[in-house]
């Protein structure tokens, strides 16, 4: 097995904030000032940082060197902003590295998103061809696989309907079906497994496993640790643009989880949260967790938990839907909570800034670490109001319970209290059949 991707000392720099001056006027101004020998009026005034504005740049990849063998399925994990997506973008040639070199052997297809280039007015059939071509397939190739693709998506009756009439689930199913039938030596995937309903996800995972079994080289970025550990043969952990762990998925995931669990503060400031999703408009300001028992004892199984979520909206909203997920540390969702269920009126006319208080009377989670993902959207103004913070804070369920129990099982995610009884069947066995 030879090396199919060789990444040599790759650096990638992004500029934060404004690129150049953005406006021709400013460039002309600067030029005119230089001509007259005057000071450039557009020089950033940040002399605290050597005056060269170096605080406005950020290195997304720092001297990254990596060799990937043929047939390897490489998982790439790391916190948001660690450089995972940048690495995939550079390898798939969406953007060029700032310095360094990448050598690739074979045909690369990258799936940084499903359904790239889908046009709402075109039918499913037309979009399959267009999307296939965008991903690098020839028309004949798509034709050959067309039936297979449609079959996989399960959308045969709707294939000649414009995709704007599709539900979002149907849309991603079709898109994933195209992507799943790509023939390439190297496949680059960014969190695309999480589409469709449960049945379709299973199908996708099976297909994925089929793909990885064929000796194809796959690069796979995900926050979904079970997927990484089951699909990948090797995993790397990125931290601030550098590879900090490289080895078996188990070892890398362990390291990643340990890193993610470092912080625990009862009140988390969310205003500049690193995990806020791209394009979010900050709504959440802070989240505070107050266990029902003594503060320092932590959360016991069966304890009550009060969450105080402070927010400040950009405008007076009328239909703000807020919710949060409790996730186990593999990223699986344990529960979703929202005031919409019992007090929807809270979401309709809440103040512009304030605090949502959520009380969970009895938190029956098994001991371990859990994360909270917050999301909010104004349903009357979706475009301007979405805020999503993944793993905004985390909490630990102690290995102890408020109930009078000798121990708590550590398997599973939820603890269900139960009462038991046993009735005797001795002496009745002659009159009734066993097991009836």
């Amino acid at each position: 097995m030879g090396i199919v991707i060789k990444i040599e000392n790759v650096w990638k720099q992004y500029r934060l904030g404004v690129i150049g001056h953005q406006y021709l006027k400013h460039d002309v101004q600067s030029w005119w000032a230089r001509v007259r020998g005057k000071e450039d009026p557009n020089t950033p005034v940040d002399l605290g940082n050597n005056g060269n504005g170096s605080n406005r740049t950020m290195w997304a990849l720092r001297d990254l060197t990596l060799a990937i063998q043929e047939g390897e399925v490489l998982g790439i994990i790391g916190k948001n902003g660690a450089g995972k997506s940048t690495l995939l973008k550079v390898i798939s040639r969406v953007t060029a590295p700032t310095s360094g070199r990448i050598k690739i052997k074979g045909r690369v297809t990258s799936l940084l998103e499903v359904g790239t280039g889908f046009h709402p007015e075109l039918t499913g059939r037309e979009n399959v061809f267009l999307n296939g071509a965008i991903l690098g397939m020839r028309v004949n190739e798509v034709k050959r696989k067309f039936d297979e693709i449609v079959d996989f998506s399960g959308l045969e009756p709707f294939i000649d309907t414009p995709v704007k009439r599709y539900s979002s689930g149907m849309y991603v199913r079709l898109a994933f079906a195209v992507a799943a039938h790509l023939d390439s030596d190297i496949l680059i995937l960014d969190e695309v497994l999480a589409v469709g309903d449960a049945a379709f996800q299973t199908k996708s995972k099976q297909k994925m496993r089929g793909v990885t079994g064929q000796g194809r080289t796959v690069l796979f970025v995900s926050h979904n640790m079970p997927a990484i550990s089951s699909i990948c043969s090797r995993a790397i952990l990125l931290r601030r643009g550098e590879v900090c762990v490289d080895g078996t998925p188990e070892r890398t995931i362990e390291q990643y989880l340990a890193e993610a669990e470092e912080r625990e503060v009862p009140l988390v400031d969310l205003r500049d949260h690193p995990n806020r999703a791209e394009g979010s408009i900050p709504f959440f300001e802070s989240i505070e967790l107050r266990p029902g028992g003594k503060l320092n004892a932590g959360l016991l199984v069966g304890d009550s938990l009060e969450l105080r979520i402070r927010f400040r909206a950009a405008y007076r909203f009328s239909n703000m839907k807020i919710a949060f997920n409790i996730e186990d540390h593999f990223g699986g969702i344990v529960a979703r909570l929202s005031p919409l269920l019992r007090q929807p009126e809270l979401c309709l006319h809440a103040p512009k800034s304030g605090e949502f208080i959520c009380v969970i009377p009895s938190l029956n989670l098994t001991p371990g670490r859990y994360n909270i993902t917050l999301d909010a959207v104004d349903r009357d103004n979706r475009a301007n109001s979405k805020d999503l913070i993944e793993r905004a804070c985390s909490f630990e369920m102690k290995d102890a319970s408020v109930l009078d129990l000798p121990y708590i099982p550590k398997v599973g995610t939820i603890f269900l209290d139960s009462t038991w009884d046993v009735s005797s069947l001795d002496g009745k066995e002659e009159s009734s059949a066993p097991g009836s």
């Binding site: 060789k6 990444i7 040599e8 690129i19 150049g20 953005q22 406006y23 021709l24 060197t65 990596l66 060799a67 047939g71 390897e72 550079v90 390898i91 798939s92 040639r93 969406v94 953007t95 590295p97 310095s99 070199r101 990448i102 050598k103 690739i104 052997k105 045909r107 990258s110 790239t116 280039g117 046009h119 007015e121 075109l122 037309e126 061809f129 267009l130 071509a133 965008i134 690098g136 020839r138 028309v139 496993r209 079994g213 640790m225 079970p226 997927a227 089951s230 699909i231 990948c232 043969s233 090797r234 790397i236 590879v243 762990v245 080895g247 078996t248 593999f330 550590k410 398997v411 599973g412």
Partner: protein, 314 residues
């Protein structure tokens, strides 16, 4: 913890994967032989400016055709009148021009029937300005695709030029109909051998529109306000082109300078071929071709400079 792992792997049955190679470490040690010829792709920060990926474009020819098809089908499906718009826009424009410039302002048309004169100008100008306007938005309006997938970036502007070319040929048929009408009723039109140059004229318009478009689009990645300038500038440019007046109206001593606008010779040559009247001279045509080629070369260089990193700035 251990038990959780078990549950997780139950989600993914039948995991039969090669175990990782223990030798693969974070640091890659260069093997003795490093034969660069074995690699199919080498990605480096900058390509030399002259490197234009023609082979790549050819490989993606299906994509170009499908993009053209997409543009057509989308236009057809989104509007009530559908492809009728291809006829209506030049017709209305021509009618307005005939009234305003022909009847009211009484600008001479070299003896060509005014309607035919303005129609020829409008159809040519429509193709060029359509190409320029739409290709100048290449990066910004396709950012969602370009940010996720790699394909030769030139595929998009080329697709635009082809789909506008189809639109042009439909409008050209409209022109031919009116031309035939005027010819039959005996108006002063005399088609001649210059009409054979038509395909070259169309190709030059396409190249010029593409050149201007990719030039602007590579600059808009840095200067956003340029895109406003384009839609405004193209209106002004039309008045610097013999669309609503003939070249003969330009005083003799300025004509050679005027011909630096490459569209001037194109529009006049188109008219010359069908009507036989134009003040066009060979030097104007040569100027036009030279300027077009120069702009195209400049556009390609600028485009290849920004195409690889534009995603970081849009």
């Amino acid at each position: 913890m251990v038990a959780k792992r078990v549950r997780m792997s139950d989600d993914f049955p039948n995991t039969t994967l090669p175990k990782p190679l223990e030798s693969s470490t974070a640091v890659w040690h260069a093997p003795e032989e490093d034969d660069d010829t074995q690699w199919t792709t080498v990605i480096e920060p900058h390509d030399p400016w002259y490197k234009i990926d023609l082979a790549g474009l050819w490989q993606y020819r299906d994509l170009i055709l499908l993009l053209v098809k997409r543009d057509f089908v989308a236009i057809y499906k989104q509007t009530v009148l559908g492809p009728l718009w291809f006829f209506l826009t030049p017709l209305f424009t021509t009618v307005v021009f005939t009234i305003v410039f022909g009847r009211i302002a009484r600008i001479p048309t070299d003896g060509i029937p005014p309607f035919l004169f303005y129609l020829s100008g409008t159809v040519c100008w429509g193709y060029f300005s359509g190409c320029l306007l739409e290709t100048s938005n290449t990066f910004v309006s396709n950012a969602h695709i370009l940010g996720k997938v790699y394909f030769p970036r030139l595929a998009i502007p080329i697709g635009v030029v082809i789909s506008h070319g189809l639109k042009f040929s439909i409008q050209f048929i409209l022109f031919l109909c009116f031309f035939g009408y005027f010819y039959v009723i005996g108006a002063s039109v005399s088609p001649n051998l210059w009409a054979l140059a038509l395909p070259l004229v169309v190709i030059q318009m396409a190249v010029l529109g593409l050149a201007g478009g990719i030039l602007v689009s590579s600059m808009t990645t840095k200067y956003r306000d340029l895109s406003h300038l384009v839609s405004f500038g193209i209106q002004l440019w039309m008045y610097a082109t013999p669309v609503v007046y003939p070249l003969s109206q330009i005083p003799d001593q300025y004509r050679n300078w005027y011909a630096l606008n490459p569209m001037a010779a194109i529009v006049e040559l188109f008219r010359l071929g069908f009507t036989g009247t134009s003040a066009l001279e060979p030097v104007h045509m040569i100027t036009s071709v030279v300027v077009t080629v120069a702009l195209f070369a400049w556009g390609l260089v600028m485009f290849s400079r920004v195409e690889r990193t534009f995603m970081d700035t849009v």
